[in-house]
Subunit: 377 residues, 2 copies
């Protein structure tokens, strides 16, 4: 049985004022194509399908088209709510849609939805655990004290008993990492300070595969617990990351084959660095990508963002990187007894990373004299 | 074939700070029970299912439960968007849900969705026309000038051709009335000023039944064009209206039997009028209803709303009704040459609908004298 695992779509997400809807649609189209090409039997969508609890119409339409296209391939689709999703909104129509092979688990209700599919090796049980917070689980386990996300996951999973001979798959949306590891976090996640929401891999019983969502970088938390990561880059800290989906082939019990399938972005997310004049040379390729532009110019470039966008229309961020002189810590010290010109030279070299040349020196000298003496031309 | 026609659910509507969700749920439960009791083959929901384009989670859950319950009865369900609904949000999952017998038409796309059902008398064609504005239809009929709602409806309907021998039903959400009639409007509708959105019944071809939504009072626009009205009262101007659903039995072509089925509200919407002391007598029934309280007291009652709500916890509105004395128009005239006491007597009787009694007169007299003379006790 072949499963395609994706997560953290964050449909409707906006970044630095840019809508990413076209980029998301491009990614979803590739995912649908992968499902067809690999004849996947099921698609696992491990939470955070939307970026906001009340998604925009356009994001809703995008998910609708995606899910409809997936179901039309003949694959079953499993979808759980993440922390960004409204559990209740996501469940609209779910009791009817499961008859079409679309299984949505939005709000945790004390038990895990279980769906059984079959192939030539026998049955596979799919369990759906939407994102849970400790307080949500506590109400269903009043005899236990559920303080942490790990307590919550352990309690929620205690309600199921796996049959050792039957293959089983879990979908969950949590921050999970192995003993002693913090996993790879990403700046585009909404992290809980101090990692208090961390769940250890030991909290999970022996599933054949656990499809996780929440962390944005594709990674393994153990040899059967995986994050697919986001299908596209959502932060400039992710420019070097590979983005895609995980293709999981479950063979006979205990044997799974896992491959990362990379997606090609409509527009990549990149950083470029250099002097303004070097960056705006005509003939550069990939100019439609989303850029973080880092200028190395000594002087601020007038109207830089607008001029940059003539060449890189989707430049998202602009900043300057200037080497700070080692003297910076001295500024503000030992000003006393220094002549104005000496102070100005120090200030100039601090600001501009170079010493005052003779021409500038001859220009500033009479001005400083005037300032001091109160004489005006 | 039996059809149950409802419209204008306005799920999630709030009135004077009160959520009507429980009342709406109560109405929907009765509708589901009617569908079962009458073995209806189809439920027609003629728009404005939600009160707002972005409904609250609780309203979404309510519709989800209602539609799921209706489909479980075995009836087909037809649903069109009204002017209050977000056409695109309403369509989420619709291409999958139609496989379950739930046909949703949200956004007008140039053609009308058509669904054929059958019974012992042959086929019945259902056409779905969601709420349309002139500009929405114009883009699909560029060779015509579509200025009014009637133009829009005529153009949209021009794309279909009815087979005279086959029974046909239309769902639409518009302000429709017969030649020379304005229909019965209701204060809870969001009307377009001047009735510019009015569509004449003559704009519609010969359907066996047209299920309309938009006007909130149940009414017939012609002998085959009906408004079911809202399933519950949504304004104090509707306190005397009957609220419910229309049961339509289509027999052989050209023969339809139409009955109004009244619903019982969880809490009725009523007006009561009288003096405060009469209204708060213990032992009154129906105190859970939604009340508009009209007080006839001469004097404002201190903290009236809070005290009223001890007896009528769901009192929504409070107002005073006092007969205005015919002299009111004289106030402000001929003040000159009148003594202060005379002026005060006039003012007192105007304010209180009675003349100053002797005791009050003896009380006010020295006060007025003091005011005039500047003497203080």
């Amino acid at each position: 049985m072949k499963l395609l695992h994706i997560a953290d779509l964050h449909l409707g997400k906006r970044l630095h004022g840019f809508s990413l809807l076209e980029d998301q649609q491009h990614a979803l189209n590739q995912i649908t194509a992968l499902v067809k090409a690999h004849k996947a039997n099921a698609v696992l969508i491990a939470g955070d399908v939307f970026d906001k609890a009340t998604p925009a119409e356009s994001a809703l339409v995008l998910l609708d088209e995606f899910l409809t296209a997936l179901i039309e391939t003949g694959a079953a689709v499993f979808l759980i709510a993440g922390n960004h999703d409204s559990a209740l909104r996501l469940e609209f129509g779910s009791r009817l849609l499961m008859k079409n092979g679309l299984y949505i688990s939005g709000a945790y209700n004390g038990t895990l939805n279980k769906v059984r599919l079959k192939d030539e090796h026998g049955p596979v049980d799919f369990y759906l655990l939407p994102y849970v917070r400790p307080a949500q689980v506590q109400q269903f386990f009043i005899e236990q004290s559920i303080k942490t996300h790990e307590d919550a996951v352990r309690a929620a999973l205690s309600s199921i008993s796996l049959t050792p001979s039957i293959r089983s798959v879990l979908l969950a949306h949590q921050y999970v990492s192995g003993e002693g590891s913090l996993g790879y976090r990403s700046a585009s996640e909404s992290a809980i300070a101090g990692g208090l929401d961390r769940v250890c891999t030991s909290a999970f019983p022996e599933f054949d595969y656990i499809a996780l969502g929440h962390l944005h970088k594709a990674q393994a938390a153990s040899d059967s617990i995986y994050y697919s990561g986001t299908p596209l880059k959502y932060d400039f800290s992710e420019t070097l990351d590979k983005k895609g989906a995980l293709l999981v082939e479950l063979l006979e019990k205990g044997s799974a084959d896992i491959k990362f399938l990379e997606l090609t972005p409509l527009r990549d997310m990149l950083r470029i660095q250099g002097k303004f004049s070097e960056l705006i040379k005509p003939g550069l390729s990939g100019r439609e990508d989303y850029y973080k532009i880092i200028l190395e110019d000594e002087y601020d470039v007038l109207d830089a963002m607008n001029r940059i966008r003539e060449f890189y229309p989707n430049a998202m961020q602009l900043s300057y990187e200037r080497e700070v002189m080692p003297e910076q810590n001295e500024v503000g010290l030992s000003l006393k007894g220094k002549a104005p010109l000496e102070l100005f030279e120090k200030f100039y070299s601090y600001q501009n990373d170079r010493t005052l040349d003779e021409e500038s020196r001859q220009f500033i000298k009479p001005l400083l004299f005037e300032l001091e003496s109160g004489v005006e031309e």
